[in-house]
Amino acid sequence: MADRRTRGMTGSGQNRTTAARAAAIAEQLHYECTILLELFRKRESLFSDFAVGDGRLVSVPSPSSQLDTKDKLWCLHSALLQCRGLLERAMSREEEELGGGEKGEYESQGKLVRERLSLLLGCTGELLKAADGSVVLTPNLDSLEIDRSTSLFELKLWIYRVFKEVDYWSQTAITMLQALPAVTAKEVGRTAAGSRRRRSLRR
C-alpha cells in the first residue's frame, strides 16, 4: 500500500519535476530568444517596432483550453519541433547567403537558442511519453522552407519571423508548462475516481 502510494506519488512528482524543469527551460529559451531578436534587429539596423506581417510559420494550432493535457502537450511538442527545424534551416540559409564574416555575439546567441530549444524539446518529449507514450514524428518542413529564389531581404524577414516563432512558442510553452502540474493532478484525481466508480459497479 505504502509502496503503491509512494510509486504513484513518485511518478506524479517526476512529472511535476519534469514540467517545472521544462517550464524553467522555456523561460530561459524565451529570454535568450528575446536577446537573439534584439541582436538581429541591431545587426540589420531595423527598428524594434517594425512589423513583418501576419501569419504563423508553424502550422500547428495553438493549444486551446478545449484540448486536454495530452493534446496540448502534443501540440506544443509538435510546434517546438517545427520551430527547431525552421531555426536550423534559417541559420543554415543565413550562413550560406550572408555568412563568411567574423563570428560574433549574434552567432553565439543563435547557437545557444538552438541548443536550448533542443533541451526543451527533450523535456516536452518526456512529458508526452509520460502522458500516453505516443511519439511525434518529425514534421516535414519542406512546405515551410522559403524559396531559394527569394531575395536576401525576404530571407532576412523570414529568419526574423522564425525567431519570432520560436519566441512565440517558448512563451506558449511557459504558460502551458506552468499550468501543467495542476492539470495533471486533477486528471489523476479524475482517473482515480473513475476507477473507484468502475470497481464499485462491478461489485
Binding site: 545587426r43 512589423a51 550560406e96 555568412g99 563568411g100 564574416g101 531575395s151 532576412k156
Partner: protein, 992 residues
C-alpha cells in the same frame, strides 16, 4: 480585298497604265528617299535588368543618327531625349541606354526617328518596356534586388507599392530617404556615395503609411579583391603551400559575393585563414604560380615563382622529449618528413624560465636534438623548437608545441652567514635565506655548529628551513674565555648538504672601544662608504647595518665586500626615511672579525617626530632658565642641529635665540621684566623643526623670594631642634649613661671604722685621678686613657687604680663612690700627712668616675696644667678650702688661684658636709670654679662650703649644688652651666 480587286479585274488595256503607275511610284519613292530619312522600323527593346541597360535595335535607311526619346509611360515624363549615333550590326541599328533607375521600376516608352542633318523622319511607333508596376502585378516589389556595387557609387532604388497599399516611406538602412514618384505605384530614392555595407549588406526597405514593411532589398556595397604577397613554399620538399594576404575587407559576404581564388587555374580551397593570411596547397611544386581573385566587383591577379630548395620552410618539430640533469638538459624531437634527414637545418630553441625567455641556436643536418647548458637545478623550464633551412634560408618554420621539464636538484650553495654580538658572550648567528637559484632544491633544514678547536667542544643544532638566526650565550657554557669559537652552518636539501660557511665569533667585542663614528650620506640610492685598506682583511670586509635606535631583537643586515675593495655603495630596499642606521665595518680574516669603523646616517632626514621633552622654566632673579631633556633617538629622525627658542606672543612665535649646540639642554633668557611668559623650544635638523614644546612662567619679585627663603630656613631650623629635643627625650637613658653616668661609690678596702692616725696622703704630682669605670662606659669613653696603677705607683704619682681620662678635652667631673657598704664616717684629715695618707688610702679605696662636658673641658685642662707644676703633699689640715688652682684636689683647694701662682697644693681635705644646701648638681673638681676671695666664697653660702668637698661617698647625687655652678663668677665654669644643668635635671628626673 485590293488583291482581290487586283486579281479580279485583269485587263490588257490596264497594263500600260499599271506600269506607268509603278514607275511613277518608284520615282516618287526615290525622290522621297533623298529628301526625308526613313522612319525606323522594327524597333526592338532588349533590357538587362541587372545592369539596368536597355539595348535598342531597329531597321532604318542610310541615316546614322537618330533621335531617341524615352519617357515613363504612365506619367509621360521624359527621361531621355537626345540624338544618338548608332552603329549598324547585322543590318540593324543598335544603341544601349543605361537607366539611372532599375528598369523594373516602371514602364518606359521608346520612340526613334532618323535624322539627316536637320531633316528627320517621322517618329517610329512607340515601344514600351513593361515595368513591374503594371496593374495585373498587384504585389509590392523593390528594385534592384541583391545588387552589389562599389563603395562610393550612387544607386537608385524604387519601390512598387502593391495594389491598394498606400506608400509611406523608403529607408536606406535607418535613413529616411526622399522618394520620387515614378508612376502610380512606383517610388524611387537615390543614395549617393554609398559607404561599405555591413556583414549582411545594407537593407533598403519600403513601408506603407502604417510603417509596415512592404518590401525591401539588400545592397552590398564593397570593394573588388586586392590580394598581395603571394609566396609559395614547401614543407615536405615536394608539394607547394602558397600564402597570400587577402587584403582589405571586400564587405561582400555570402557564397555569391565572397572572393573566389584560383591558383594556376585550379580552384583553391582555402585551407586556413588567419590574420588575413590565406593558405592554399598544391600537390606539386610548379615553380610558377598565378593567383586570380574574383568577386562580383572585380578580379585581381598575383604571380610568384621560385625553386623548391629556395623555399624550404620546415614544419614544426613534433614529439619533444627531454633528458634533464641538474645543470643541463638534452631536448630531442622528431620530424614529420623523412626527407629532413638530409636537410641542413638551423634550429632555435626557446627556453623560458623565471618568466624570462632566451633563444639558443643549433645547427646540423637533420637536426633532432639540442643540449641546453647553463641551466639551474630544480627549475622548471619550458622549451619549444623551430627550424629553418641553412641554405637559402627564407623563413623560420612554425614553433613546436611547448615542452616542460624540471632539472634535477643539487646541493645548496654556501650560505652567507654573519655573527652579531649584542653582548660580551651573547649574540646571534645569522644567515641569509637562499634564493631559488641558490638553494638548488627545496631546503629542508639548516645545521649550525659551534665548536672550539682548542677545547675540542662542538655543539650542533638542526633548525627548520624557516629559521635564519640562532642566538647563543657562552656565559654559562663550557667554553671558557679566551677560547676561539667558530660558528659554521650548512643548508640541506634533497640532494645533500651544502659546503659549510664559517665565522669566528668575535667574543668580548663589547670590551673594544668603539672607533670614531662617521656620518654616512645617502647618495644616488645608496650609502657610499669608504675606508682604508686593512692588510689583515684576508677574506675581505663585512659591512653590517641596523637601526641605531633599536635596542632589542634588532634586525641586522650585512654585506660582504671583497678584500680588494675599500668602497661600497650600500643599497637596500629596506632603508626607510627618518631612521638612523648604524653601519659597522669589520675586517674578515682567519681570526675573529675586527671592528674597523662606524658610520651613522639617514636615508633621508625628516623633522623630529616629537618635541623636546620635559621643558621646564626656572626664575633666576630677573632671568628665566629654560631646561629640557634630550629627544629620544628614535624620534629625532635626523641629526639634530640645535634648538630654536621662541617667545610666544599670542599666536605668534618670536625667535629669541638659536642654540646651535645640539647637546645643549638649557638656555637662559635674561633681563625680563615682571610678567608672564610663554616659551617654545623646537629642536631642528636638516629637515626642519619639530612641533615645539611650550612652557610658561610668571616672574615674581626678588624680595618675596628672600623672605620666603628666610622663613623656610627658620622653619627648617625649628623643625630640626624639635626633632633633636624629641630624640634626646626619647633616648634620655642612653644620653644620661653616655654623658652623665652615675658616680661610682668609693671602694673602701680597709676598715674605716677603726681609729686611724693621720692619713697620709700622697698627692699625685699630676693630680691624677683614679677612676673606676662602669663596664658599659668602656666602649663609649674613647678619649679617656686608663693609666695603670702600677705605673703610677712606680712613678710615685699614681693615686688610684682606675683608668684616667687623660686626654679628654672635655671637662671632667668626678663622683666619689664608696664600694664599702659600711657607714661612712666623716674623716677629718687635719694634716698634710693625714691628707697624704688619705690620699694614699684613697689611691686604693676611692675611685672617681669622670664625666665630661664640653663646657668644663677647658677647666679640666687648666687643672691638669696646674698640677703639672708639681703637687706637694699637703701638710696643713684642711679646715677649709679655697679653690686651689692648677691641680686636682678632691680634698682641698686653694682659695684663690690667683694668689697661689706656685704649684697648686692641696690645702685641705674638707670635711664632708651633709648636703649643704642639698642642691649639688654634680661634683665639681677643685678648679672648676674660682673664688676671688673667701668672702666671696662665704657669700656664696653653702656653695662655698661645698666646694672641693665631696659630701658623701655613698651618695649618687652630685656633690656640688647646681646653684654653685650658676653662680660661678668664672666664665670658664659658666660656659657649661646651662647645658649641663639642663641635662642634669633631665637625667636626674629619670633616675629611679
Amino acid at each position: 480585298m485590293p488583291c482581290q480587286s487586283f486579281t479580279s479585274c485583269p485587263s490588257l488595256n490596264a497594263r500600260p497604265l499599271r506600269f506607268l503607275f509603278v514607275l511613277l511610284a518608284l520615282s516618287v519613292i526615290h525622290t522621297h528617299g533623298k529628301d526625308a530619312p526613313v522612319v525606323p522600323q522594327q524597333v526592338n527593346l532588349s533590357p538587362n535588368m541587372k545592369t539596368q541597360q536597355l539595348s535598342i535595335s531597329w531597321l532604318s535607311g542610310a541615316a546614322t543618327t537618330f533621335d531617341l526619346w524615352i519617357q515613363r509611360t504612365e506619367l509621360s515624363e521624359t527621361i531621355f531625349d537626345d540624338t544618338v549615333t548608332a552603329d549598324q550590326v547585322n543590318g540593324r541599328y543598335q544603341w544601349n541606354w543605361t537607366s539611372a533607375e532599375p528598369l523594373e521600376c516602371t514602364s518606359l516608352s521608346v520612340q526613334l526617328r532618323s535624322r539627316d542633318g536637320q531633316t528627320t523622319s517621322e517618329w517610329s511607333e512607340t515601344q514600351i518596356l513593361q515595368g513591374m508596376d503594371f496593374p495585373s502585378n498587384k504585389g509590392s516589389y523593390m528594385y534592384p534586388v541583391d545588387s552589389v556595387v562599389n563603395v562610393g557609387t550612387n544607386t537608385t532604388f524604387c519601390c512598387i507599392v502593391g495594389e491598394r497599399r498606400l506608400f509611406g516611406s523608403i529607408y536606406y538602412k535607418v535613413v529616411l530617404m526622399n522618394a520620387t514618384r515614378l508612376s502610380r505605384r512606383s517610388y524611387a530614392i537615390t543614395r549617393v556615395n554609398q559607404e561599405p555595407s555591413g556583414m549582411t549588406g545594407t537593407n533598403v526597405f519600403c513601408n506603407d503609411y502604417q510603417n509596415t514593411i512592404l518590401t525591401g532589398v539588400v545592397v552590398f556595397v564593397g570593394y573588388p579583391p586586392l590580394p598581395s604577397n603571394l609566396v609559395c613554399e614547401t614543407h615536405d620538399l615536394k608539394s607547394a603551400v602558397c600564402r597570400w594576404n587577402a587584403g582589405r575587407d571586400t564587405h561582400l559576404n555570402g557564397n555569391q559575393r565572397r572572393t573566389n581564388y584560383t591558383l594556376n587555374g585550379r580552384k583553391c580551397e582555402v585551407a586556413s585563414q588567419s590574420l588575413n593570411w590565406t593558405v592554399c596547397s598544391l600537390d606539386q611544386w610548379d615553380g610558377n604560380w598565378t593567383l586570380v581573385a574574383k568577386n562580383p566587383l572585380g578580379t585581381y591577379s598575383l604571380t610568384d615563382s621560385a625553386e623548391l630548395r629556395h623555399r624550404v620552410r620546415p614544419v614544426a618539430p613534433i614529439s619533444l622529449v627531454s633528458i634533464s640533469h641538474a645543470w643541463n638538459a638534452t631536448v630531442l624531437w622528431q620530424w614529420m618528413y623523412k626527407s629532413y634527414d638530409s636537410l641542413a637545418l638551423i634550429c632555435q630553441v626557446e627556453l623560458t624560465a623565471y618568466g624570462q625567455t632566451t633563444n639558443r641556436t643549433f645547427l646540423g643536418v637533420g637536426l633532432h636534438s639540442a643540449v641546453l647548458l647553463g641551466l639551474h637545478p630544480d627549475e622548471v623550464y619550458s622549451v619549444r623548437v623551430c627550424c629553418g633551412a641553412q641554405q637559402n634560408f627564407g623563413k623560420w618554420g612554425n614553433w613546436s608545441e611547448a615542452h616542460t621539464f624540471r632539472t634535477r636538484m643539487d646541493i645548496p650553495e654556501t650560505l652567507d652567514m654573519w655573527v652579531w654580538m649584542d653582548g660580551e658572550d651573547t649574540g646571534r648567528v645569522m644567515w641569509k635565506p637562499l634564493t631559488r637559484k641558490q638553494s638548488h632544491g627545496l631546503i629542508t633544514g639548516y645545521e649550525v655548529t659551534l665548536w672550539s678547536p682548542e677545547k675540542n667542544i662542538q655543539h650542533n643544532k638542526i633548525l627548520p628551513p624557516s629559521n635564519f638566526t640562532l642566538p647563543f650565550n657562552f656565559s654559562q657554557d663550557d667554553y671558557t674565555s679566551g677560547v676561539k669559537i667558530i660558528a659554521s652552518i650548512t643548508a640541506r636539501n634533497g640532494a645533500g648538504v651544502s659546503l659549510p660557511a664559517s665565522v669566528v665569533i668575535p667574543l668580548h667585542m663589547a670590551n673594544i672601544e668603539p672607533p670614531f663614528v662617521s656620518r654616512a650620506v645617502f647618495l644616488d640610492g645608496g650609502f657610499p662608504l669608504s675606508w682604508q685598506s686593512n692588510t689583515n682583511a684576508s677574506c675581505g670586509y663585512v659591512v653590517e647595518w641596523r637601526d641605531a635606535s633599536c635596542l632589542q631583537d634588532c634586525s641586522v643586515d650585512w654585506t660582504k665586500v671583497p678584500a680588494e675593495n675599500t668602497t661600497i655603495s650600500l643599497r637596500s630596499g629596506n632603508f626607510e626615511q627618518g631612521v638612523r642606521y648604524t653601519f659597522t665595518l669589520y675586517s674578515c680574516s682567519s681570526k675573529a672579525p675586527e671592528l674597523m669603523h662606524h658610520w651613522q646616517g639617514y636615508m633621508q632626514e625628516m623633522v623630529p617626530s616629537r618635541s623636546v621633552p620635559h621643558l621646564s622654566t626656572n626664575q633666576q632673579d630677573s632671568d628665566i632658565q629654560l631646561s629640557w631633556d634630550e629627544i629620544p633617538l628614535v624620534n629625532r629622525r635626523g641629526f639634530l642641529l640645535g634648538y630654536n627658542i621662541y617667545r610666544n606672543n599670542g599666536s605668534q612665535l618670536t625667535l629669541l635665540a638659536n642654540v646651535s649646540d645640539p647637546g645643549s639642554r638649557s638656555y637662559t633668557v635674561r633681563g625680563l621684566p615682571l610678567d608672564s611668559y610663554k616659551f617654545t623650544v623646537k629642536a631642528y635638523n636638516s629637515a626642519g623643526e619639530d612641533t615645539g614644546t611650550t612652557a610658561s612662567i610668571t616672574l615674581k619679585s626678588v624680595t618675596d623670594w628672600l623672605i620666603l627663603e628666610i622663613l623656610a630656613s627658620l622653619g627648617t631650623m625649628t623643625c630640626f631642634l624639635v626633632f633633636v629635643t624629641f630624640i634626646c627625650y626619647k633616648k634620655r637613658n642612653w644620653v644620661k649613661k653616655a654623658f652623665y653616668p652615675d658616680i661610682p661609690e668609693p671602694k673602701l678596702a680597709g676598715d674605716w671604722s677603726r681609729p686611724q692616725g693621720t692619713m697620709d696622703v700622697k698627692p699625685s704630682p699630676h693630680s691624677m685621678v683614679r677612676i673606676v669605670e662602669e663596664p658599659e662606659w668602656d666602649s663609649s669613653k674613647e678619649a679617656l686613657v686608663a693609666i695603670p696603677e702600677e705605673e703610677e705607683d712606680e712613678e710615685g704619682q699614681g693615686i688610684g687604680d682606675g683608668p684616667v681620662d687623660a686626654d679628654e678635652p672635655m671637662s671632667l667631673r668626678y663622683y666619689n663612690q664608696v664600694i664599702d657598704d659600711r657607714p661612712i664616717r666623716p674623716r677629718f684629715p687635719d694634716s698634710s700627712a693625714s691628707s697624704a695618707s688619705s690620699l694614699d688610702s684613697a689611691r686604693t679605696d676611692v675611685t672617681y668616675t669622670g664625666i665630661q662636658t664640653s663646657g668644663s673641658s677647658l677647666t679640666f685642662q687648666l687643672q691638669t696644667q696646674g698640677s703639672s707644676g708639681g703637687q706637694q703633699p699637703q701638710t696643713e689640715p684642711p679646715v677649709s678650702f679655697a679653690g686651689g688652682e692648677g691641680s686636682y684636689r678632691p680634698q682641698m683647694q686653694h682659695g684663690n688661684v690667683g694668689h697661689s701662682p706656685g704649684p697648686a697644693q692641696p690645702q685641705c681635705f674638707q670635711e664632708p658636709q651633709s648636703t649643704t644646701g642639698g642642691s649639688f648638681s654634680c661634683y665639681q673638681p677643685q678648679c672648676s670654679w674660682n673664688l676671688d676671695s673667701p668672702v666671696e666664697a662665704g657669700g656664696s653660702g653653702g656653695r662655698a662650703l661645698s666646694l672641693g668637698s665631696p659630701t658623701s661617698i655613698a651618695s649618687t647625687q652630685f656633690l656640688l649644688p647646681e646653684g654653685g655652678t650658676e653662680d660661678s663668677g668664672d666664665g670658664k665654669g659658666h660656659g657649661s652651666s646651662s647645658a649641663t644643668s639642663w641635662f642634669h635635671n633631665l637625667l636626674t628626673s629619670t633616675k629611679p
